[in-house]
Symmetry: D2
Subunit: 319 residues, 4 copies
Amino acid sequence: MKRVAVLTSGGDAPGMNAAIRAVVRYGVKKGLEVIGVRRGYAGLIDGDFVKLEYKDVSGITEKGGTILRTSRCEEFKTEAGRARAAKKFKELGAEGLVVIGGEGSLTGAHLLYEEHKIPVVGIPASIDNDISYTDKSIGVDTCLNTVIDAIQKLKDTASSHERAFIVEVMGRNSGYIALMAGLTTGAEAVIIPEVPVDYSQLAERILEERKRGKINCIIVVAEGSASAYTVARHLEYKIGYETRITILGHIQRGGVPTFFDRELALRMGVEAVNALLEGEVDTMIALQGTEYVRVPLANVLSTKKKLDLRLYELAYLLS
Amino acid sequence: MKRVAVLTSGGDAPGMNAAIRAVVRYGVKKGLEVIGVRRGYAGLIDGDFVKLEYKDVSGITEKGGTILRTSRCEEFKTEAGRARAAKKFKELGAEGLVVIGGEGSLTGAHLLYEEHKIPVVGIPASIDNDISYTDKSIGVDTCLNTVIDAIQKLKDTASSHERAFIVEVMGRNSGYIALMAGLTTGAEAVIIPEVPVDYSQLAERILEERKRGKINCIIVVAEGSASAYTVARHLEYKIGYETRITILGHIQRGGVPTFFDRELALRMGVEAVNALLEGEVDTMIALQGTEYVRVPLANVLSTKKKLDLRLYELAYLLS
Amino acid sequence: MKRVAVLTSGGDAPGMNAAIRAVVRYGVKKGLEVIGVRRGYAGLIDGDFVKLEYKDVSGITEKGGTILRTSRCEEFKTEAGRARAAKKFKELGAEGLVVIGGEGSLTGAHLLYEEHKIPVVGIPASIDNDISYTDKSIGVDTCLNTVIDAIQKLKDTASSHERAFIVEVMGRNSGYIALMAGLTTGAEAVIIPEVPVDYSQLAERILEERKRGKINCIIVVAEGSASAYTVARHLEYKIGYETRITILGHIQRGGVPTFFDRELALRMGVEAVNALLEGEVDTMIALQGTEYVRVPLANVLSTKKKLDLRLYELAYLLS
Amino acid sequence: MKRVAVLTSGGDAPGMNAAIRAVVRYGVKKGLEVIGVRRGYAGLIDGDFVKLEYKDVSGITEKGGTILRTSRCEEFKTEAGRARAAKKFKELGAEGLVVIGGEGSLTGAHLLYEEHKIPVVGIPASIDNDISYTDKSIGVDTCLNTVIDAIQKLKDTASSHERAFIVEVMGRNSGYIALMAGLTTGAEAVIIPEVPVDYSQLAERILEERKRGKINCIIVVAEGSASAYTVARHLEYKIGYETRITILGHIQRGGVPTFFDRELALRMGVEAVNALLEGEVDTMIALQGTEYVRVPLANVLSTKKKLDLRLYELAYLLS
């Protein structure tokens, strides 16, 4: 094997750069030429390639985002698009492709293998932690630290006033961020797509807690369940509560990667190159306990990661 | 002088606790008994007092919010309310009152002096930096560091995609936070109450910058000028731009106070006690250069702090 | 079971408070009375007890250190000392004891069970990550984030000059902190107790890298291997290098706990109470993958956690 | 005026990049070509020049260090060295030079003007805040935030144990960092070059405070007064105190610039270009209150900035 390529795709996640760095540096040390594909699958279709040398990835670990940039590419979702991408890839003369991204991106990688036998290895990167078979995906840890830091700031001010603060966090299909942030900051309520919300019950609960002497009232809501404004309207209507809203938005995708995301990304990058070298392709690198293993992409993609709802109960029990 | 009281009022600002600590500790060292008034003017009306000893303010500097809590008090805005507050204050037997808060709170303090000869000294605390005669108010610096940290995280992800990010920050009447945050992060546009916004011009400008190769597009908007959603709709309508929204909300009022806010609060607290001891009341402590001076509250309240619009031009020039 | 006790012991670790909070709140919700033992085993010997109610642990998650304080207690290392501690414990009428601490503390817990049948459950807390059977101990993650943040700051200035920066980190017997910090920040060298250091080789390596154009030179050294000053003297003597020293010291034990440490501590606290309730004592709660399991203390204490030296090679390979 | 140059010199300070960015962007907008000089005066002597375009300074504000790098240059301290530098400068065809640095660097700038009529404008950058006529120098604010963050972490662990923690901070001739950090974190003692230290008194004071119930004991020492080890030995000898040492070292020169340093640097950069354009050279830009003024370098260099020792008393009074 002489030449491999690497791309980042989908929503970006802190730590992607650390993964790129590891693929490049470990690859080079293993005698490979490493080609970066810019703008994800869109760049693959366009042949937007750049050779990455050892020094090109110097000092990128600490940067959020991805130096290769990402995109969401409609064309790649079609067979024709993937055929064009495969053609460009073959023209490049690369013998392996590392795809760093979330579920959609890994689906694309799997199809590239299925339809065109391109030797792909996936690295899970998704702040939602919604990829199965791996304990964590790249970006989750940094994202959650950003969210709890924000909630902590609200708690400062929350205990000075008498109001409800509603924090909308990312998570279109998964309540992981909202749940874990709520659990670890002691939020008064967590609203997630996995559990239907009953606003009457929520309102009652808040009133009760206020009676018991609680001053703080912080509600964390996953965007996939409701908007912060919807929650606010319900509380104002039902119990006349004044509310204040924070929508964190894309700051959840940025920030200097934490230690956890750096280690995760670095080691997944190394293992992705090893998997390519050993021909164990159409797989994804997964963290299981303290080990980095290879899981067939087919398995990953056919299994939905479930939220551990015992943690939801715990969040309420301990708040 | 034997006994003084201190209260925090209005929207809370990081550093208020450092000011309380300084008033208490410096006061005690000067032989005074210091009484904390809980919940601002509402607590004054209710006689919600607590004696604060040297140790009671240990370790509070680093905490956001205010240990005395604040409130917005409608009753205090009436003459009758202030009369009740003055009565309680006189029953307490205190000979001076330190009021830590924004313009509304300082107005209240001034009226307490005018109407009831209560010897007040004000300390300006307002994240908006909208209090005149003082270079900075308590909380501004921490707030701006919170905002630029958030924008920095957006820039990570912004340079990975091709979109506009709109960040709504505090500032009902003042664009100070938006302007200074935009200026120091190199935001592409700043929308503030002091300058009428022309969405067509804004849209054109963004398109031009994109042509010149700019990937980032971050727009900082003060809540008093427009909501982030309004800005988003205009950009989507006019140039079909995809936008992403962040509303920072009350996280701007929280956080561990910065060095600047700690020094400012500590020294203003000390000077407020000195002003009381020297009978120079109905004044506000102000930072002017490196000195802490006393300004008659009447002057402070009759002068509107103006935003330096040269900085607005600079923000555009350098972005 | 009606009453349980909890103590923190040994060097403190960020997250200990989150564990205390979980033990108290989960315990109370399970109908238990929870007693805090102040100052670790020293407090147990002295009967320094305090009842902890639900509200007493409000807002402590975000605090570094431990509200119960810790101590190192020589007396407890003797049979007589443990006998006194056991007597006090029995007088207290508690039926279970949660011990949060490192290897020494867990050894103490095990002896309390062996010698006096006190039903103990351990929670591993140690910034060195040197406790076996658990993927991570409480405090490791926060500590490493503090260390990489410091090294990152050095890198800013390091790439402005031409010098070696030597950072001494904690780790008397374990090089885990130094190794992982070095690996994830791309430090030029890592000096740890597990690998004999050859200063001539180190010096040569640095000279070579300088020749290859590297400007940065950061060396992370575990205190158990050498002091920063020793490393500096060697480099100055062998290659005339100017060096700059940072000794992080106990700032590595402080700081607001990260998301990872919060979740770890909270869930270990909950599981410790469950283990007590189910009578599975003389055990330690361990994180294995995504599960929290109970491991006999005898097993934990008879197994030395080994550093994964493949990571040492990786640190050099990728730096 | 068509071409100006800019260099950074001496110890680096967070915010230098923001100043470079402002000089370049504002310069370009004013129709100037801006040349960066690499490695300070050493680069000036060597003619190590690089043209800086608008885009070259994109995204550098948030970076610590300086993209132009700095050096300490012995040759430049000689007349011959400065003559060589002046020759290179004139060959470059530049008509103005912005020097960003501390007192030594500003002295160099002044000599370039005196000896060779090179039109220089200085920008004060020094974490020690030891440059006169300006309220603050670039880097001070970020440095102090780094230091107080470190001390805050120590306080977490300090209140869990019973020990003295000694923190050595920068400041060879000035105790500003130590004093201000000690004042704003409530450190128990501050040791600075400006005030002779009496270890017996210090020891007594600590014992007394311990008697009064204080658990924390944090001592901040400026490197120019004593090393942390010296302080530790005295305390151990005199009162048998166990001590723990932190030496922050060059992490005080790094880090993402704070809001304050960003604004300061940006506006000083702009004003430096204005001063060149208006021919008001051999000056330094100074912050005085909220205004940016031009002060003759001769005045700056002939005046020693004095530490306000009232703050020293205040630090002890309030600790």
